[in-house]
Amino acid sequence: MAPLIRIESLHYTYQHEGGAVQALRGIDLTIEQGEYVVLLGHNGSGKSTLAKHLNALLLPTQGDVWINGWNTKERRHLREIRSTVGMVFQQPDNQIVATIVEEDVAFGPENLGLERQEIRRRVEWSLERVDMLPFRHRAPHLLSGGQKQRVCIAGVLAMQPSVLVLDEATAMLDPIGRQEVLEVARRLNREEGVTIIAVTHFMREAIEADRVLVLHDGKIALQGPPRTLFQQIDRLRALSLDVPHVSELAQALHRRFPAFPPDLLTPQEIAAAVIACCEERREESGERSARKDERGERNRTRDKFTLLTPHSSRPPLLALHHVAHYYMRGTPLEVKAIEDVNIEVHRGEIIGVIGHTGSGKSTAVQHFNGLLKAHEGEVWVLGQNLADPAVDLRAVRRAVGLVFQTPEAQLFEQYVGDDVAYGPRKQGLGPEEVRARVRRAMEAVGLPFEEFKDRITFSLSGGQMRRVAIAGVLALEPQVLVLDEPTAGLDPQARRQLMRHILDLHRQGVTLVIISHNMEELAEICDRIYVIADGRTVMAGTPAEVFSRAAELRAIGLDAPDMTQVAEALKAQGLLPADAVIYTLEQAEAAIAELLLAHGAALVEAPVGEQTR
């Protein structure tokens, strides 16, 4: 039987700004029915271009793509090809055509010219598969990101494709939405035998795959099952990809204890391996039961949320005290956005704010520069109560710079330099001062002034545009910078680069407030973290304090960093003390190494010379 997908020496060249760009440079690939393939690569590696060749949205410049034996160049098979290979894209909002969920799912089958009864059957079947049947009569704009993306998947499933291509379908979702979508993909693959091809730059999503392909410069640079692939840490780094902490930890432990498996992929696997190493020893000494009782006791005392008080007694730079805010206040449609948020920010701190989507964290931080007015409670900024009508809001907005999510969507000037200069010009500064500020702001985010000031804004890459947008806020020279999801949607390389610039700003004296879903990132840089759930501050403390409450975080839909999850699993077995502080790779490695040394009779530490295989 012919393979489902066969690609032979595929080349694709397109024109961009007058020059030819070689996006794909010789891809040879076959994919069989029922496979789960993940396509990894940084932005510009060609992974999305390759995906769009699979259902003839793009046609090869050279070479061929066959789907089920149909060459994608033959227009007469277009309908068959596109109904065989279904595709879901990054932005759910831009894929939903109807104002009612079930009508949207019906769009594909309608295009195939199916009978009404058959369409109905397929709509119900596919909404059922993605757990969205109860929402069939809802309006899409009232759904969460993950729900919307599942509706998009249902819309594709309704055409009964053999292949489902997820083209960065999780990039814009929060962790819960991402899990929802991946869970659906996994189930379709296992239960319905649907071939999954997931394009992503999240290494973690590759864990589920049968096969991982890494694209680089339009070629397949690496290929293999995730377990073997993830061990090539240096090679992956060279391809601008992030290696999950879990893989790094497993390999670090393997180097010191050769018997420790190097190819573990999840926190659970690490914990299980550590427990297995310690098990024999512990069974001998028979102390297991005693430990277990102790653990039960601890869990019971930790049942409810706790608000840890911040340590500092200095007056804060910014403060929200019991702030509540309602949307559409005074109408029958009034919605409570936040009801009791408390945040204090001191000069020079880096504060993290976490919470699931819809928890009100973005609403909360918009009070810091007076964009929203507190309906209840008090907002203090630089010693002023914002409820005081004498407060100059423009001065407040200059002192507290606020960078929104995907700020590149707010750029408007043709030239980079003009866009960055918008704020200072509005402030009425002279041309010399404006120029000096634009220069400083652009250089602070790694965009050399002379090289970039006259570039066309909309021709820059996504990561560069985001840095221009941040520079536009920095040009106001704020004392505090509030960043809402600064790295969302960026590939690992752009993300690392941006975080480096943000930390440089902090070193120059800018106080930072960062909203993020990336727990690893926050764990490493924050002084304190606030947790917001359902419009309330439910926890506040150092990363160590907050992440040690992994169970409580999970209860409100948040994940602790991977390393904390490993530690929690070990604490649950009584292998690590309950008060051990572990949230970074280094901490986890040190603690587990110590544990293995203490327990593992079978594990011998490798001599220094043999550390690398």
């Binding site: 259902n55 939903i96 594909g108 295009n111 918009q366 929104f404 918008y422 909309f458």
Partner: protein, 281 residues
Amino acid sequence: MSEFEYLRNVTIGQYIPTESTVHRLDPRTKLLAALFVALAATSTRSVLATLLLIGLLMGVTRLARIEVRYVLRGLLPAAPFVAALMLMQLLFQGRFSVCETVYWEWGFVRITPCLIELVVLGALRLVIFLFLVSLLTLTTTASHILHGIETLLAPLQRIGLPVHEFALTNIIALRFIPIIAEEMERIAKAQASRGGDFGGAPWWRPDRMARARLPLIVPLFVNTLRRAEEMVVAMEARCYLGRKGRTKFVDLHFTGLDWLVIGLSVLLWVVVWRTPWPTFT
């Protein structure tokens, strides 16, 4: 109300799902019935008949389990227009009045009983039309209305009118209203955070006013165009190749009740049209 909440409280075309009999009627029935009630309202010059029609619409509102007060409150924003219309008629229509009695006359302004009747009638007719439109949107989702229009106008497709494309375009436009409203709010807030304000130009300098709004309008356009491009790709990926060979999922079918309502509304029109209503002039 926050200064940045723009379109979130758009209530035009708001749908209130009470699952009443009126809601369950076929959208085509409601469109046709509305048409005949409108015809009835324009086919009589009697204030009494017009008032009776309004009474009938209130009855239908009760039947739809929607508070009449809520509908009337929704008409309030139109009040200035109704008042302006009444004033215009009062000032300029008197000269054409056929009545002999004249209450008051000054220059070209001439107030007669016929004129007063005409003014009241004009206002009441406007109220009926607005009432009909709100009742239709309160009890029918926008997409159902569009499917209804598409089916009713389907015969026009044969003479080359792009009815299907019109309906699809409108459904997609409806879908984007809340998305673009939210986007606009976010952009305005972001520019305000950069020290921007969008007023500040005097009204006699529209060029400067437009310039001040560029920071809102440019990103809104750029983002909307980008969305449109992505939408096209997504639609193509779902096998959309135009109207040819397409079937329809939404199943509109008439029940006995639908026929009854259509029949009654035609009857209503004929009766209102043919009855010799008493007039006081």
